[in-house]
Every structure is written in C-alpha cells, then in structure tokens.
C-alpha cells in the first residue's frame, strides 16, 4: 500500500520502529498507516496464529491491535488506527514480552 504523492504536501517524515525495522512516517499519520506503509499489512494474529489485517480504521473492530511503546516506556496494546506516529515510537505486531 502506497501513499498518494501527487498534489499532497506532508510534514517532514519521522522515523518509527516497526518490529525492529526503522520506517518513515509523517507526523499526523496513525500507527496503522505506518504499518500499512511498511510493506507488511499484518497487524495482530488470531488465536490460531493466522494474520489479521486492519478492517474498520475507526477504532471499532480491534483488528489493528499492536503493541506500542514510546522510547523506553512500557509496552501497551493499542489499536493502531487510534494512535498517532511520534518520534521514538516503537511498534511490535507480536507480544514483545514473549518474543524468543
């Protein structure tokens, strides 16, 4: 999924971390946008381990749930479509505490 480039001006990009990789996002974009722009459309996994993608983009379906942490603050589960990308934001689509 790609950003519209023509006829759109955006603030200077910032770097956020998604599953350990640095990804550029523009201030004002949500975490969900950053994940979609990262070439992976994978958000949470269901109980069987199958991947789920964002569905409603308005805070209702919870399918875009990811873990997020600002800098060194503790990880929180958030709905990616409701949280804005910020400098030092780290995002994990897997439970960071149980990662091997």
């Amino acid at each position: 999924m790609r950003r519209i480039e023509q006829g759109v001006t955006r603030p200077e990009p910032i770097a956020v971390e998604i599953d350990g990789a640095s990804v550029m996002a523009h201030p004002g974009e949500t975490v969900a946008v950053a994940v979609l722009a990262s070439a992976s459309r994978r958000f949470r996994d269901d109980r069987s381990g199958a991947p789920r993608g964002m569905f409603c983009n308005m805070g209702t379906c919870s399918e875009c749930t990811v873990w997020a942490a600002l800098g060194t603050s503790p990880w929180r589960r958030v709905r990616g479509c409701l949280v804005l990308a910020e400098p030092t934001l780290r995002i994990s689509t897997r439970d960071p505490e149980s990662r091997p």
């Binding site: 919870s62 749930t65 503790p74 929180r76 589960r77 958030v78």
Partner: protein
C-alpha cells in the same frame, strides 16, 4: 401472532434470566407458559452483568452500618441455596455454561476492614456459610499475584463465575422444548385485571397486537417492573442501578478466584478465554429525557471518573493488572429494592400477579426462579422465600384500586 388462541396458565413478561428460568421450571411442572420479551432474549441486566457467583455477604450490605449488615446477613440462607443450585446447573441444563467455582476472596487493605471482615465471617458462619478469615501471609500463600499490601481476606471455597451470555439461552431453549412459547420483539403495552380476578394483557409484537387473558402474570423485567406494575396502579419499590463492567485483553491463566473487596467497590475474575473482568458496583450515568427525568429505555453511559476509580482499585489489589490493556467498558442497569433484598413472589393486592426482581439476580436468579415456580405451581410460597415476598411492602398498595 395470529392463530395463537391457546390459553396460557401464565404470561411471563421479560426474557432475561428470571423470566426464562421460571418458564423452564413452570413448563416442566406442566403449566402452559407464554414469555413476552420486548427486545431479544438476555438483552437486559441478565446479559450485561459480569457473571460473578458471590455467596459472601456483599459489600453493599456492609456499607450502611451494622444494623443494615445484620439485616443483609439474612440473605446468606438464600446464598447457600444458590450455591447448591449453581453446583448442579450444568448437569440440570445438560450443557456447559462456563461455570467455574474455584473459590472467592473478599480482600481487606486496613485493620479496620479486617475487623469488618471478622464481623461478617462470624455472622456467615452462624448462618452455615463456611467462609474463613485469612491473614496477610495466608492470603499471599493462596494468591501471590495479589498486592503484598493487602491485610487479609475472607475466603469461600465455592465462589466463582459463569458466562452470562449463554445461561439464558440454555433456559429458554429448555423451556421451548417443554412447550413454553417465547415471543421476542413483543412488548407488554396494556395490563388490566378483570372482575373475575384474571388478567388481560395487550402484547405488541412484529405481527401487531394480541390480547391475552390469563389467570397469572409474572413481571420479570428487572428495573422496568415498577413501570409495568404501575399499569395496574401498584407500587413495587425497585430503583434503577446503572452500573459499568470492563474487560481486559487475554492473558495466561493467573486468577482462578473471584476477587471482591470489603472496603471498596470491586469484583474481578478471569474468564475461560483469559480476559480479566472488572466491575463491582460502580455507577454509570442514566440517560435523561428532555425534562431531566431518567430514561430507562436508552442505555446508560460510561462515567469516566468512576471507570478510572474502578480500575484504580483493581490495580491496587492486583498490581499486574496495570500491564493489561482495557478492551471494552459497557453499562448495564440492574435495580435495588427499598431494603436491598430481592422482591420475589405474589403481590398481596393483586392475587395472580407475581414479580421477581432486585439486585444480585445473576447469582440468585436460578434458585429464585425455582422457588418462584414452586410458589406459582403450588399456590403458596416455600419457607425459603418468606423474607423476599412482596408482602413486606404491602402498605404501599393500601390505596390501590382494583376490580
């Protein structure tokens, strides 16, 4: 509803736990039962509560002083029956209902709260409920995930929780198999008593209006009972209690017990799926009509201040909770009676009219429905129901005018 001309022995208004469980018992006893539910089954407090099975004396009885606590203690005799009812309910209904009865802890944070627990436990033991006081060390041994600051707890081995979203369905399906008719989307829009003492009810459903003449009516519609009894000019002192419940994301099994608090409003437990359910009697905000009066037909709204306070108590008792994420908070409206005890049985001023509503009716609903069905089928109330009968409020109907 055209063509439904058969006579019914009883009309039950309300397709929640009490209505459907009563229908199940009465149908098994051979009565012809019609259940009318305005919305869909289990859409009121029966499905909105968090499913606690609590048999210790509740905090709401303890926060109004010792006299109220002593009165409230009388409910323990019913709690003991409810405990037995829940032990057998999955077998009785022939299906799993997520009933978990691994024990419950009512925690205390201060020495004053420990003294209140000791008072409560002594009263419970007198009444045959085997609660016991645990000191701080014993509590930590039993529940190491709770805060080390807790002073102790009252332990009851039989408490727990069940799934409020499947219980009513089980009763309704069983009632249907026994011949009960269940009509959803069907509201009681008129109720009067004829000169011969029978009742004439107007039901408005998807197919229009239907008039039902029946010798008996059971109002099992929770906080709407006063409004429906009001159609006959009768007064049932039940008052709406809008509450909130919250659920966190799933985590590994950590909490096998029901947690309550003797000094703060809290109930907390973990579902089979691993989610933590948090409630305990924190009020939500009733919707209001334009003139400022409560609107009981619209859902109550989450009260953020109370939600924060509820979660703060929960996290103080179980610190690990602070790492969890809140998935959802919802509201539900139950009701309390003038003396906090459920109102269950026949209205003295209106023979043949029965009511069953009040607080704690998830825990108490199944056993109250059984006792009420016996009352209706046998024509007199069993001794176990005596303290819950509407006759204690008969003075409120001293000026009622009925045929």
């Amino acid at each position: 509803m055209t063509g439904e001309t058969s006579k019914f022995d009883i009309l039950i208004v309300g397709g929640g736990l009490v209505g459907c469980a009563s229908a199940w018992h009465l149908a098994r006893l051979g009565l012809k039962v019609l259940v009318a539910e305005r919305g869909h089954l289990n859409s009121g407090a029966s499905g909105q509560n968090a499913g606690s099975l609590h048999f210790q004396i509740e905090r709401r009885f303890l926060e109004q002083g010792e006299k109220a606590a002593a009165d409230g203690a009388r409910i323990v005799t019913l709690n003991r029956l409810a405990l037995e009812e829940w032990r057998g309910i999955e077998h009785m209904l022939g299906r799993p209902l997520d009933v978990a009865m691994h024990g419950g802890l009512m925690v205390a944070e201060t020495e004053a709260q420990m003294a209140l627990l000791a008072f409560k436990v002594a009263r419970e033991n007198e009444l045959g409920l085997s609660t016991q006081v645990l000191d701080g060390a014993q509590l930590r041994e039993r529940a190491p995930y709770l805060s080390p600051h807790l002073a102790g707890a009252a332990w009851l081995a039989d408490e727990g929780h069940a799934n409020p979203r499947i219980l009513v369905d089980a009763f309704a399906e069983g009632a249907g198999e026994q011949g009960a008719r269940i009509r959803t989307g069907t509201a009681l829009t008129g109720l009067s008593m004829a000169r011969d003492g029978t009742y004439s009810a107007v039901l408005s459903g998807p197919d229009g209006e239907m008039r039902v003449n029946t010798p008996r009516v059971l109002l099992a519609s929770g906080h709407w009972v006063p409004r429906l009894a009001g159609m006959l000019g009768l007064n049932v002192p039940l008052y709406a209690a809008p509450l909130m419940m919250s659920v966190t994301d799933r985590t590994e099994p950590v909490l096998p017990y029901l947690i309550q608090h003797v000094g703060a409003r809290l109930s907390m437990k973990q579902t089979e799926d691993g989610n933590l359910l948090i409630g305990g009697g924190w009020p939500s905000r009733l919707a209001r009509r334009a003139d400022g009066t409560p609107d009981l037909d619209r859902p109550a709204a989450v009260e953020m201040k109370n939600l924060r306070a509820n979660l703060a108590v929960a996290a103080r008792v179980m610190p690990g909770l602070a790492q969890r994420s809140l998935l959802r908070t919802w509201t539900g409206t139950t009701c309390i009676s003038a003396d906090q005890l459920p109102i269950v049985g026949e209205i003295p001023a209106a023979p043949g009219l029965f009511v069953a509503a009040g607080g704690s009716l998830f825990t108490l609903g199944p056993v109250l429905a059984r006792l009420l069905a016996r009352t209706i089928a046998e024509g007199s109330a069993p001794e176990e129901l005596s303290m819950f009968l509407p006759r204690r409020f008969a003075h409120l109907d001293a000026f009622a005018v009925l045929p």
